[in-house]
Symmetry: D2
Subunit: 346 residues, 4 copies
């Protein structure tokens, strides 16, 4: 294990993703957060803006300066909203400087980005240098890591064992995905007002959530016949957690035991994916506060649907935790470094 | 409209369903609750056991006596747990006395009841005299009304327009149903402990909820080719509300506008089912506190799945409200009598 | 009981208070909502803006026109934010036309209003024609009813029996008041964002909530020596409900039984205030959805503090319900008309 | 700093306190959990009973054997319910073996324990060998540490600066304390059923919570004239967190600035107590997931009441975190070792 201190910078530190990076990195034994940067040019100590950080962090945002960042750090995290990093990273890419981008700006090709994000994409040549990296299937050959989206992570981990074995029936992939509010970010709007969320449940963006193209793209990478999924997203009245209910049919008739084994084999050497015993399904509490993805499955021989449940903490496994896991890979550390987290439970 | 006072008795008044009946009947202009009965022989004024009823109800449970009930009332409600009414109703059935049963004891034929409820059913001859009655499609020819289950109500209302037109593709009916805790009842167990429910979401009884056979039975009644559905139930960390996400394929290619029209036509004269404008989906808050079922739909031409969302208040439309609506039908009152309820909203 | 239909107008119908008035008035047997008015000149049917009202209300806001309102209605409700009604009501006051104002604009004298609301008050001569009316102690001699604030209602009902008997020790009145979010209104700000409210509790406006002067003013009316109270407000992560914990010392040594009797006697003919049995304290669930105020007390002989707990539904007893109760009084109806509501319980 | 590994045993590992100890100790750099013991003789791997521990802990409870524990560990934690440790610890006390007891069994003298816990106490001679240890004011001279209760911790930290300066007015100490559900433990009863807690708030045990005597005892230790407090406890519909609102009068007239300085001076070298800027009050979210106690104060010159707000995470600062902080003291480690936790925030 490489014991050298990794100096990092974080751009976009006041969104939930950036604050979660700060929180998790505090306990990483070999990382030192050297500088933080806001696009809003804040110059107040972070613990003044965020009292919960008092006594734990004493650091003031400094102006965003790529050359200075490349000189003083080993890696920069972008925890910015969509549409921001694409305009800020050119120098890093040209210098082959390590970047982990938590936004969606480098996950897709240019045409898809334009369609799904309704914004001007980065150039295709820049996009080509980025690598979409599900940390549990790390195969990176680039210094620009596009960290996957939260729903995409939970969904891909649920389907990977089947897709990798060419088992998904393209015409029968139904994903009913649900997330807590932190996934929606800090902005103040009707849909985040307590009165509209509390004691409520609603489906938003059926069929058009921006995570659909990255899920499809990755599934196709594993199983070439996949190019669309029936995918909806709904809002749970909780702070954190994603619960994906996937209903799929398979290209082959397989017993429940065989299916269980396929999942166990896929994940047996992947420390952050825990497969439940056969027919046991996980709940959100098991993973909130951790970098785990818990997966359970149950097969219905009458309907021929396999139900797969996949749960993650959207801020950790779905964002900052996966980013740190990717960083560990990039720097040849044990991938669990700084991520040994146990669920809060009560 | 019949102005005559309807005297009623309620058996099983201390579960959530019975208490909800008491609450709603208080505001019914032509109903008088004459007597309440517990299987536990409680003899304390109901407002002592339930302080929230003080000043509103002053009534003490009396022993269950079918002959006395038949003499002093016009109708008896059973709001008992499953497995109770089947042993108590014989005299009522033989006398053709009006009964509205909120439990599952008379919804199925004997073999199905035994399989799904794991209890000894009532005799088939008694079961034959009951009528499973979705109040919005009231076609009753019996004095024994088996009030549908909550999940079943939300699901059947979502699918009725398609089933009635033979449009459901039997191999592609996926229902992801979610309910608040009141649906689980008052009993104290791990799954109702606040710490296990709050900030959590979990799937329970995938593929084996007792509402599956009554849904299938009713769908088959409309569309003879239907005899299984892919149906899971999950627990939402809220008090009330059911949210059904149905993902179905159709036997015919139809435009989204045509599908919208089919739903609007089916429900145009049904005062308690509100169809949202095209592509607008309802949320739970719209219906909690009311007897409405709100339905919305959206079609994905890539995947060919039609997504239907159906929301109800599980205690009202899914239980006590539907029971009263059935009662209004039975006594030839306007079906909205006493059920003119507006959602609480904030 | 006067059976004549009361035609009403509502000004400010899109805030939570206005929507709650619409909801409650729908079930009032002798009220007809003739017109609704917004200060924003909305001209969309209310059920389009608020889908939960579909099938229940079909009414479009019309421009605010006092002369037209006075010609076509018997009463106008103002459910506007503070600072609005004071500029709109002059013609009504001059014509002695019945007004029930849910805002704070006419609860205080001009100097107090200016200090606490930081706005220009209505003229003292207009203010003098208004009557601050706690509906449970209705003694109105004016057609302009200033409906009390929610915290003020819960607090005054908790203290009235003692103040009316000159029993409060001025130097020992501590009120720790807590409310659900609906009390804060619809505006989008940090303090109403789900992530900041959920799983949280916070004290806001300690010592400076606008309800302090109206509480003090009314207490002084009963017991002339009272002119300040130690009063803080905190935010509960729930939709509705106010829970007031009052800790007071008394000017006389009285037994717990005597104190209990004083409360029972004060409220025995007041249908909407329920006093719990001695040492039994109410919780919020008992009253949400109702116009009840439930009160319990318990005395500590060691500390000499009497603890009084008072709970109400802030939108009903704390706003729209009390407004309707005042209206019933004004029109000589039984004060419970249209307010026979039972708590939702589950 | 002592780098030697501290081997520990935990007795009572399946309650929330024990599970929280396991969770926090996992990240303590110099602690190794050697054995865990249940009073129920469970012999299933802890990660089978508690799936959230999978991959993080592989340890099976073994029978409780004091001699074996003393041979194989350096310290034993008792995270048992009240009434259990008092019967199990004699050998440890006689051997002067380090014990940290999270229960209330050794916090009080024998007569007080009997009155408040309604159980037979340990013998006074055993009780005399224990030390009630608020970790932030560590002054331990015993190997038997009685870890303070959660409410007591939050309350004592709020009042210590004043008591230590003889400033509390005995006749005016009003504490309105509120806690999330995890403080009530795992047992299944009406008061922990989701339907009774959610969207609700209630006051339980006014004037008779078992933490009252330990608060009074410690206050008296600082300020000899204190021997009673007006103390109530209420239940918040959240998982974790305690919010204490203290309303006190002082024996001297002091300015708000002076009072602020007294608090800041008291806590300036105590890393886990953060005093907010003057008139700024903390909320629960700032501390959940951490070992911090955040305190804020604001003075009302009209009423002469000083309002102090103190917030903690009841499972961490109020139980397991404080236990570990006491352990760090006992073993001469930096008291923050293994407790460098940042609030979850979103």
């Amino acid at each position: 294990m490489n014991k050298k201190i990794i100096n990092v910078a974080i751009v976009g530190v006041t969104g939930y993703g950036g604050l979660e990076l700060l929180r998790l990195l505090h306990n990483h034994p070999t990382v030192h957060v050297v500088s933080i940067h806001n696009t809003s040019n804040d110059s107040e100590d972070i613990s003044v803006s965020y009292p919960h950080l008092q006594s734990m962090y004493k650091i003031t945002p400094t102006p965003f300066d790529p050359l200075h960042i490349m000189q003083s750090t080993d890696l920069v995290f972008f925890a910015t909203s969509s549409g921001v990093s694409k305009d800020l990273v050119q120098l890093f890419i040209e210098a082959n400087f390590p970047v982990i981008d938590l936004s969606g700006d480098f996950r897709l090709n240019a045409p898809d980005y334009e369609i799904w994000y309704k914004k001007t994409p980065a150039s295709q040549s820049l996009l080509d240098q980025a690598n979409y990296s599900l940390a549990d299937f790390y195969q990176n050959d680039s210094h620009y890591i596009a960290n996957p989206g939260c729903y995409a992570t939970a969904t891909l981990l649920a389907l990977a064992p089947l897709a990798q074995q060419q088992l998904l029936d393209q015409e029968n992939i139904v994903i009913d995905a649900k997330s807590g509010l932190s996934g929606a970010g800090k902005s103040l709007n009707l849909s985040s007002h307590f009165i509209n969320v509390n004691e409520n449940f609603s489906m938003y963006k059926p069929n058009h959530h921006q995570h659909i193209p990255e899920i499809t793209q990755q599934l196709k990478h594993w199983q070439a016949t996949i190019d669309h999924i029936q995918f909806t997203t709904s809002l749970l009245p909780i702070n954190r957690g994603i619960f994906v209910s996937a209903y799929v049919k398979l290209t082959k008739q397989l017993s429940a035991d065989t299916l269980q084994k396929i999942f166990e084999d896929t994940y047996k050497n992947k420390p952050f994916v825990r497969v439940m015993p056969k027919d046991q399904l996980p709940d959100i509490k098991q993973v909130v506060g951790t970098n785990f993805a818990d997966i359970g499955l149950t097969y219905n021989p009458n309907t021929k649907y396999l139900t797969i449940v996949s749960v993650i903490d959207n801020m950790i496994k779905g964002a900052a935790g996966q980013a740190i896991q990717n960083m560990n890979h990039l720097f040849n550390l044990d991938e669990t470094t700084g991520l040994q987290l146990i669920a809060q439970y009560a």
